[in-house]
Amino acid sequence: MVEEVEILELVPVEAEGAKAVEGLPDVGLVGAIATSYLVDQLGMEEVAHVDSELLPPIMVLHKGKLKNPIRIYGSRDLLILVSEIAIPVEALNPLVKALAGWFKEKGIGLMISLGGIPVPNRLDIENPAVYGVPNGEEASRLLMNSGIELMEEGFVAGAYAMFLRESMKRSMPAVALLAQSYLQYPDPGAAAATLNALGKLLGQVFDVKPLLDKAEEIRIKTRDLMKQARTAMMGMQKPRENEVPLMYT
């Protein structure tokens, strides 16, 4: 039987106890900007890519080399999932299930999603706050011990919500780190905020100054990806994140 989504390893991947970070294109492209910057900053090598007929027929060229648009970069302690295309809503569930399954198989110790929470007054916010969403007690303790404030009530929607769910089903601790951001515009400032929070979680410091210095260039380069992500977000019921849950206590 042909799988709907395949994770194809370029080299044997051994990641027992490692952390996995994902930043699929979403609100403000926060996760996408953060993960692609992190890969570059840490000089990571590609270890796998994602293949599926559910995805649009797109490949990407970098330095003359043809690459799949959804790729996993890795070192012994860290795997990073990067996507250069917005994920169509019909592909999201199978994609996240396949990735969560693969991360579990590799023995990942913690799944981390980087993303944004849209706020209407983002223009007036100099330093976006970051909130954590855990998928269980262990994840909750990790966030609290790192000094990251938890989101307590509300809806979460999109790729990171699916990663939290699929990790929970596989008894894998997972957190989402969500920075206050623009909804419709690429937000390198929010991406930098999530990387600072990720550093607290992992006990290391990531240098975000180069990211902030190139913020305007990033805003131009990511215009088209942001347009794709806007369309995809409507199908993911992102507006539900503004609603109060029925059983709010």
Partner: protein, 139 residues
């Protein structure tokens, strides 16, 4: 909330604009050396609010806005030109120096009442809607 009744021609125009934008039209123009900015159009009770992301535009004096009852044209010059030397084919040779976008508004507005602000690279244009409002007394 009152809306101007849209004619079939408005729907057709909008459909082909979106089709062109989605399928054919890149977000850059090599002849004019300009880029199309990301914009958002929000219709509220009294206003249409158009925002635009304008990176590398630093001064409000570099922005030109022309508004009619149903369109807004945004033009802005960048302080620093932008070029990606290894990207694509024709566009790799271009230094982009400005932004330009024609925005079709969802309803008629009053151009004379329009106001605009520019902060940290974000343009915000508030366009009062051209509506006649009546108060209804509840018996």
């Amino acid at each position: 909330m009152w809306r101007r009744r849209r004619s079939i021609f408005d729907w057709v125009d909008e459909f082909f604009d979106k089709l062109e934008e989605t399928l054919f039209k890149p977000s850059w123009d090599v002849e004019e050396c300009c880029l199309e900015p990301l914009i958002d159009v929000e219709e509220r009770d009294e206003y249409v609010i158009v925002t635009a992301d304008l990176p590398f535009v630093e001064r409000k004096e570099d922005i030109k806005l022309d508004v009619t009852e149903d369109t807004l044209i945004i033009e802005a010059n960048m302080t620093k030109s932008f070029r990606l030397e290894r990207w694509g084919t024709v566009q790799r040779d271009v230094e982009f120096r400005s932004f330009r976008k024609l925005v079709r508004l969802p309803t008629l507005v009053n151009p004379e009442g329009a106001k605009a602000t520019f902060k940290r690279g974000m343009l915000r244009v508030m366009l009062p809607k051209k509506v006649k409002r009546y108060t209804i007394k509840v018996e």
